[in-house]
């Protein structure tokens, strides 16, 4: 029994590979790629903002760039999340680390003719950082997860006649994962079939290992858009961002020992089973697992699916100064049905995710103030992707209501700045702090403040 058959709770590792925790929106999609659109609740598929962000909100909008004009837009959103998890049984809670996360975006456009324009966008439509303290209640699910999807999207767009614009882009996605979790000794199996360390009295929540998985891969997809503007007051739009299937993400899994500081007590059956005296550190018994056992550093592989997005919208100008917009969006998170993880030593684990399609409804408006400024406001609500039994520390997600305000103004002759603020109010949601298959044991809360700024220059 000197070599424990430790079956690492790869469920947790898989959870943060497979059920990413969004700080932001449906699933772990990010919708704030231009401060102009952010100020009006992310609406704009029917009338994208004139800051290059059309490459995300509707590639057809790039066709509006006048011939000979080159525009560079650089901006970012700073996200300040606040969240916690409160355990039912104890009332104990853990707070998300208080950090501010930047999400930058860059757009470059040029009008080649009166009917044809092109551009290059760099943005992150899917991404998350969930950062809990290492002693958080959900640390055995995950304590830090980073999923970065940087899309580089060359885009072309054209006007088809007087009313119609079309556009499309090719997405190259640079994916990077960093996933961290603690491992609970109590959950591990001993060499006696069916007997875990918890059966021997090891208290729940005895950290003995810390796992870190990193991986990178490039994925590919496309983005299409269409706008129809039958009158100066009314326009319609639609966009489709393709699904991405990224297989064979080869990564590294690193494990380091966390000292339990448990001494084998007198009277323990482990004394006879292991042939060690009372007082032997449990950590000394476990150490070989990190040197030649299943918890050595090893390779791993998995695959990810990024869902397709479909957005439909309408924009209406009742007056010259007022612009009202409504968008409906669907994201097909059903692609997150199962996650398969293959570790070199720990073997394979298949985890059901069973995510659901999400639906969003966005209402925005902007009002011109004077000749060079505009104020914006908006409201949106959307459903959750994670099913009720898969709300985790990695993805403490729920349906959300969000409010936005924004302001934009010209800076001299060729510059423009947009500023926006967004408040995310997520409905409290029951979830679990442990690995897949365990029952919900507490409540997650989540709120966030977002501040955005985009600077645009025309040449």
């Amino acid at each position: 029994m000197r070599r424990f058959h430790v079956w690492l709770a790869v469920g947790g590792l898989a959870a943060f590979l497979g059920s990413p925790a969004s700080l932001r929106a449906q699933g772990f999609s990010v919708n704030e790629h231009g401060t102009c659109a952010m100020g009006r609740a992310g609406t704009g598929v029917a009338a994208p903002c004139d800051d290059g962000s059309a490459m995300f909100f509707n590639p057809a909008g790039v066709a509006s760039v006048p011939r000979g004009r080159t525009q560079i837009s650089v901006g970012g959103v700073f996200i300040a999340p606040h969240g916690d998890f409160t355990q039912d049984a104890t009332g104990l809670s853990s707070d998300l680390n208080k950090k501010v996360f930047p999400v930058p975006a860059l757009f470059l456009t040029h009008g080649f003719t009166d009917r044809f324009a092109a551009g290059l966008g760099v943005f992150a439509p899917y991404g998350l950082t969930t950062d809990w303290p290492k002693d958080a209640l959900g640390r055995f699910s995950s304590f830090k997860s980073v999923i970065r999807n940087i899309y580089v999207q060359p885009t072309v767009a054209a006007k088809l006649g007087k009313y119609v614009k079309v556009g499309g882009g090719f997405d190259v996605n640079f994916l990077h994962l960093e996933l961290n979790q603690r491992v609970d000794l109590a959950e591990q199996a001993t060499t006696t079939p069916g007997v875990t360390f918890a059966n021997l009295g090891i208290p729940a929540g005895t950290d003995f290992a810390e796992g870190k998985v990193t991986g990178s891969k490039t994925g590919f997809g496309f983005h299409l858009g269409l706008t129809v503007q039958p009158t100066d007051q009314l326009s319609f739009g639609a966009r489709y961002l393709s699904r991405q299937r990224i297989d064979d993400i080869n990564g590294d899994a690193e494990f380091k020992q966390v000292n339990t500081n448990i001494l084998i007590p007198p009277g323990s059956p482990l004394i006879a089973a292991l042939g060690v005296p009372a007082g032997t550190p449990m950590d000394a018994i476990l150490a070989p697992q990190f040197q030649s056992g299943k918890l050595i550093d090893q390779g791993g592989a998995t695959g990810l699916r990024l869902p397709e997005q479909l957005t439909l919208g309408v924009a209406f100008r009742p007056t010259d100064k007022l612009h009202l917009l409504f968008d409906y969006g669907m994201q097909n998170w059903e692609v997150w049905d199962t996650i398969v993880l293959d570790f070199d030593s720990l073997g394979q684990r298949v985890l059901p995710q069973d995510f659901k399609r999400t639906h969003s409804w966005r209402f925005g408006g902007e009002y011109s103030v004077g000749s060079s400024s505009v104020v914006r406001a908006g409201f949106l609500t959307h459903s959750a992707a994670a099913p009720d039994d898969n709300v985790t520390a990695t993805l403490p997600e729920g349906g959300r209501t969000e409010f936005t305000v924004g302001y934009g103004t010209r800076l001299g002759g060729s510059g423009h700045v947009d500023l926006a603020y967004q408040y995310i109010d997520q409905a409290d949601r029951r979830g679990r702090s442990r690995e897949a298959g365990t029952p919900n044991d507490g409540v997650y809360t989540f709120k966030a403040h977002l501040f955005g700024a985009t600077f645009s220059w025309n040449f």
């Binding site: 039912d88 104890t90 104990l92 918890a198 208290p203 929540g205 209402f363 409905a427």
Partner: protein, 437 residues
């Protein structure tokens, strides 16, 4: 109203509608007072729910600590010893026949004596383990090895009670510790498994300074986590029916008006008297009052003597044999220790603003031949039955029965209500649905 106004109104109203969401299922279970949000019970076998020389999930849920938690309405996780296909149920299973050697136990035989802990994904609230002395709340290696050390693995998992307490960050703690700091002396009687035993062995009594030092460290830790607490006094082990006054043995077998005086029973037990008449069983006059009022005879010694006589042998209880009885000097050592412990506990409770429950008031009041027998009912054992100790004690004669646990829980609840102004229901059972005793 213009379209523009309608649109602007919608932009204002829709967010307000969207934020009107509630979910009653998110509410935590009702707790009678926030002070009881996280309750941890520290102690020894009594708190752990040990009865009749054993412990299993049936006895564990009948512990006063669990009953108290039920009254509080707080979540309370126990380190349950559940069924196991090969290992049976319990650690070990409680006895159901106490007059045989070895005693008969509930359920199938347990090859290892101990089944496994039921796994739990939560920290346990009842961190008490059988055999605990006060120093062992702080250090698993503080005492000489004993058979009960196995619980340091199966209940504590190698942690200490104090470590588990700190991890749970309790809001309320009960501390019922100290009985094993004196009980070892009483239990050290000679037997097949302990041939060199000496009932009343004073070396097994923890010195007062050592006791108070460890006890204060526990209380300091409780204060450090900001919890409130109730402290329970150390039971006067000379009152429990495990050992009886040798004077009672004497008076039950001898009509001796000179030496048998109230409050001792004066009516000779016909069966014991019969045994004596046969010349097979005798109680030496050195067991009579006045010395016999401070000399204790552990029931296994008494039963062994009487059993031998009933089987045709000749035996005598001789109170000059130190190993077989707790001598007056040894009794005094135990009583002095308990009094010293309890004086300190009461002082600390007052000084720290903790509730205090003196269990000995209830113990003394319950000695009435029904709840706590001053003399065990030995005779059924001669016919293959069980030795009886009264309704307040289980079949080992020193662990409280389920009924006694209910009384203890009520007494503690009263003390808590008095100190903190809470409204724990008393009696608890009846207000909440307790396991049947």
């Amino acid at each position: 109203m213009s379209f523009k106004r309608i649109a602007v109104s919608l932009l204002v109203v829709l967010p307000l509608l969207g934020s009107c969401r509630t979910d009653d299922s998110l509410n935590p279970p009702p707790i009678i007072d926030p002070m009881f949000r996280r309750y941890v019970s520290m102690g020894n076998s009594i708190t752990a729910g040990f009865q009749s020389l054993g412990i299993n999930d049936s006895t564990q849920v009948r512990s006063y600590a669990n009953l108290l938690a039920m009254a509080m309405g707080t979540d309370f996780k126990l380190p349950l010893f559940n069924d196991h296909p090969q290992l049976g149920k319990g650690c070990p299973a409680p006895v159901d026949t106490n007059s045989t050697d070895p005693p008969g136990r509930v359920g199938p035989p347990q090859p290892t004596g101990c089944s496994l802990r039921a796994p739990t994904r939560d920290l346990i609230n009842n961190v008490a383990f059988p055999g605990a002395e006060v120093a062992e709340l702080l250090d698993n290696f503080a005492d000489t090895p004993s058979a009960t050390d196995v619980y340091k693995q199966f209940i504590l998992g190698g942690r200490t009670e104090l470590e588990l307490l700190r991890r749970l960050e309790p809001t309320f703690v009960s501390v019922f510790i100290g009985a094993n700091d004196v009980l070892g002396a009483l239990l050290d009687y000679p037997s097949a498994t302990n041939p060199t035993g000496n009932a009343g062995n004073s070396s097994q009594v923890t010195q007062l300074a050592a006791f108070t030092g460890s006890y204060d460290s526990v209380l300091d830790a409780i204060e450090a986590v900001g919890a409130k607490a109730v402290l329970i006094s150390v039971p006067d082990v000379t009152v429990i029916p495990f050992a009886s006054l040798s004077a009672i043995y004497y008076c039950l077998t001898v009509s001796d008006a000179l030496r048998c005086q109230a409050p001792l029973p004066t009516t000779p037990d016909p069966n014991l008297a019969g045994l004596r008449a046969l010349g097979r069983f005798d109680v030496n006059v050195n067991c009579a009052a006045p010395g016999g009022l401070q000399t204790l005879v552990p029931w296994p010694i008494g039963l062994q003597k009487i059993g031998t006589a009933a089987a045709g042998g000749t035996t005598v209880i001789d109170c000059s044999i130190d190993a077989e009885v707790v001598t007056p000097t040894e009794t005094q050592v135990i009583a002095t220790a308990v009094a010293g412990y309890n004086a300190h506990i009461a002082r600390e409770a007052a000084a720290r603003g903790f509730a205090y429950f003196d269990i000995n008031l209830g113990l003394a009041a319950a000695v009435d031949n029904v709840r706590i027998r001053p003399f065990p009912d030995l005779l059924p054992a001669l016919a293959g039955g069980n030795v009886g100790f009264g309704t307040y004690f289980s079949l080992d004669g020193f662990h409280p029965s389920s009924l006694a646990h209910q009384a203890i829980a009520d007494g503690i609840a009263d003390a808590i209500n008095t100190e903190y102004g809470t409204s724990l229901p008393v009696p608890i059972c009846g207000t909440v649905t307790c396991p049947a005793p």
